[in-house]
């Protein structure tokens, strides 16, 4: 169907609909130029303007005020990606599926895909040529079984689909935590320590998707994080490190697309996790990598066996791509630090960097341990001295000064750093000892309270596992800004505090097996 010549054209109109990632267009049921009913059964269409082509999902309207018959309405993502002015003329035809979908169907039938086939799938995916359903088809097809070669091909194709950073240094380090633990803002302490030592650590982080704060959300309390590739290079050249949001750097964009479909389906296989993380790290150009796998009853990985299998998969992929990789398991039984939510977490970070005696000790210890591993990658450092060196850099204030330098280089934050003014305390129902804290529940609670959108919303913990409490003593404080969030959060806490005191109750959800 390429006789575009004979197809009347439609005028671009911008429709202020945020359709997430998916390109969506709207045409009138009465469209004079296009016969929407011809498209019954074709929900995917192809827009052409000069040599520019966009694949999109079609909606039909009966409302001329929204889109008139001679117009084509482009939703926000479609409008931005197509990047043609309002009023431009476009041709619309039913879209044929990307050819690479044949490989997806083969995968669903249980076949093994070649490197070229996986490359084609990822390339189409990264160029927004797949509908959500088609992405789901690929994910689910690969979820049941992928071979080691397929995993390598997938990781490599994803790493190549976006920006690929190259650094002049022989050793470029990076760290990554697989996530799931509230608080746990170690990167913001590790980066300044390692950078103060002199090793380059160009760190990009994600914003929260389902958690109450990503490292990028928390760093944004202290500095601007919306930094592009060129600026990132300048900052790293000046400071040895950075703490920016990955969104403008475009590392492994296919990963972001896959994640946006994995999440609502709660599909998370080990292989997909490894391909996701490693593709971003390979694209980021790091040579030496530390992966943190927290293990605990309510963290992503609940058993040592699971953690070991995941570790081996990371090592396998890291080795094949010629990266030095170290994978450590850490205590994931409870939140790290006292704050959950951007401002509260940033406070914890700055307290550790400032050697404040009241700073959370678990966050400080874990950060030092991670920094030590990374410093041990430095060939100039004597073996086994990484920890001492990390502590020296922290205690001397060198890490704090480096953090200030990074903040200055990235530019000032524009965020309000006030804590939520509607706060309430959640108290222990009995005397005893805290024996468990539900990470999933606290993450959800902080989100209900308004984090990460409200930077100052969240939870401040007063008690951790092993602490004695008396009945009526506060376990934690919840900060919110608005009555609805306050009431929802209070309701959630009265149903379940997320704390187990004395251990007589059984922790809901996952349990250690």
């Amino acid at each position: 169907m390429n006789s575009d010549r004979s197809r009347p054209q439609l005028k671009i109109r911008r429709v202020h609909l945020d359709t997430g990632r998916e390109n969506v267009i709207v045409i009138s049921r009465e469209s004079k130029a296009l016969r929407p009913e011809i498209f019954r059964g074709f929900s995917r269409v192809e827009l052409v303007c000069d040599s520019k082509v966009l694949l999109a999902t079609l909606l039909i309207t009966d409302d001329d005020a929204l889109v008139s018959p001679d117009e084509i309405g482009l939703s926000e993502p479609a409008f931005h990606r197509f990047a043609e002015p309002v009023g431009s003329l476009v041709t619309v035809t039913p879209a044929s599926s990307p050819e690479s979908l044949e490989a997806v169907r083969a995968k669903i039938r249980g076949q093994t895909l070649s490197k070229a086939e996986i490359g084609a799938v990822i390339n189409d995916l990264a160029h927004y040529r797949y509908s959500d359903m088609e992405i789901a088809a690929f994910l689910i097809g690969s979820a049941s079984f992928i071979t080691s070669d397929e995993l390598l091909a997938l990781t490599g194709a994803m790493a190549q689909a976006g920006t690929q950073l190259v650094w002049p240094d022989p050793v470029v380090v990076d760290k990554h935590c697989i996530g799931g633990i509230p608080g746990n803002r170690t990167s913001m302490i590790v980066v300044p320590i390692v950078a103060a030592h002199g090793l380059p650590i160009p760190k990009t982080s994600s914003r929260a998707i389902t958690s109450p704060a990503g490292t990028a959300d928390t760093m944004e309390v202290l500095a601007r994080v919306n930094v592009g590739v060129e600026e990132m290079k300048t900052i790293v050249a000046a400071c040895n490190g950075c703490l920016i949001w990955g969104g403008h750097v475009n590392l492994s964009p296919a990963d972001d697309i896959l994640i946006s479909v994995e999440r609502p389906l709660s599909l998370d296989t080990r292989e997909q996790m490894v391909a996701s993380i490693m593709s971003k790290k390979i694209a980021a150009g790091s040579t030496h990598l530390l992966i943190d796998i927290p293990v605990g009853p309510t963290s992503k990985i609940t058993t040592a066996t699971e953690a070991m299998r995941l570790r081996k998969l990371f090592e396998f992929v890291g080795d094949r791509f010629g990266r030095s990789i170290e994978v450590i398991t850490t205590d994931g039984r409870q939140p790290i630090g006292n704050g959950i939510g951007p401002v509260l977490e940033a406070n914890d970070v700055m307290a550790v960097l400032s050697n404040d005696p009241a700073a959370p000790r678990d966050l400080r210890e874990k950060s030092l341990r991670l920094a030590a591993h990374l410093l041990d990658y430095d060939p100039k450092l004597r073996g086994g001295t990484g920890y001492a060196r990390a502590r020296e850099l922290l205690e001397s204030g060198a890490a704090l000064r480096q953090m200030q330098k990074i903040i200055d280089a990235q530019g000032p934050s524009k965020c309000c750093t006030d804590l939520g003014n509607l706060a309430f305390d959640v108290k222990a129902g009995r005397d005893g000892v805290v024996t468990a804290i539900d990470c999933l529940r606290l993450n959800r609670l902080a989100r209900t309270a308004g984090a990460p959108l409200d930077k100052g919303a969240g939870i401040k913990l007063f008690k951790k596992i092993g602490d004695r409490v008396e009945q009526g003593e506060p376990l934690y404080r919840v900060y919110t800004f608005d009555q609805p969030e306050h009431d929802l959060a209070a309701g959630a806490c009265s149903a379940d505090t997320g704390y187990i005191v004395n251990g007589h109750e059984v922790l809901q959800g996952k349990t250690v097996s």
Copy 2:
């Protein structure tokens, strides 16, 4: 998150967006009552109004003219399903996934599902609680492997999810073709023959989804087909049969939902085809069933082996549900009848029923053969006399009179029955014999010409396989109504007529193996 009390409410507004099957709602990014950003990561929301609940997919808008901050915009399907007046107050909360999704995830991991699990999935699906992605997850999870027990559970659950018809007669017959062959409107001849004999044959048919005409589209040229359950019963009581659209009868609604996702993904496993067809037939209450599997290089089933495996699956499911089932394979190498498109096919049908000497012989013969199989189900008829009885009913005009009775009972058609006024002939490029006709290509061509929306658009065939042609002699005529369709169709024909004359070329697409 069920403290609805504290959540401000939004006023329903109707948004004229046809989002297909999926429930979609639109809220303002500035919404005062609801904080859309809380929903980052929650693309699914739950609307509550009194005790009514609707699951929907969320879009966000910046356009107050579309949806203002105190409103919630319901797209057409959501508005109709929620069925609350404009201005009603609703509460919106992030939706938790239906519990049955856990079974879908288990299926993806390769597990076998119980009857109860499959029942829960189908029930949620039939109540529009699944997003398109979640439906795709179920389909793909089941596409790789399902057991015989799972297939039975799936078929049964689908049959039970909608209307279940019960007829007073001991023998209620039905026929079904798995589709793919242009023309092939045998049902419209078989039903009046069988009904004239006195066997009940309450036939519901689909409209075209990707083909140029479904039986419902073609019957609509002659009579009203939008008939509900009660009226259907009255018509069948009066005429022994009917030829109506299934859309208002709501047989196996889960099937329609699954198909709407299968199609764009081109997922079509034998098991899904059998569950789909059998669930509708079981729900329709027929006791004796005839399945027609056309086999040919460009039909859905290309080899005898494939046809046999499909036949056995139909027989297995039919037997387990206590239905008499007969499965026959028919010649699917080329279109049946001369017309492709509703009006042209209706003309073929009426020519056969009127014993017009110019009526297409293949359509007449195939219809008689199918009717014979169904008549042989009549215990009162002497074994082996079905064909003679069918021919007698056709040749005596009894079938035509019965068709007229059915048409009168269903009510007059409101369709225009003119043929497209912009027609052109496609001619043979050389002398020779027609050796192959591409069914897929002719289906697409008739659709490009405007069928089934334009009832009078389509293709009239002058030559079939085995016919001699001379260079320049017309192979077929294409009817269209508008210049764009005309030009697109002409372009498609000049690229490839879909005919092979003399057999020197290789037929594109599938080949017999």
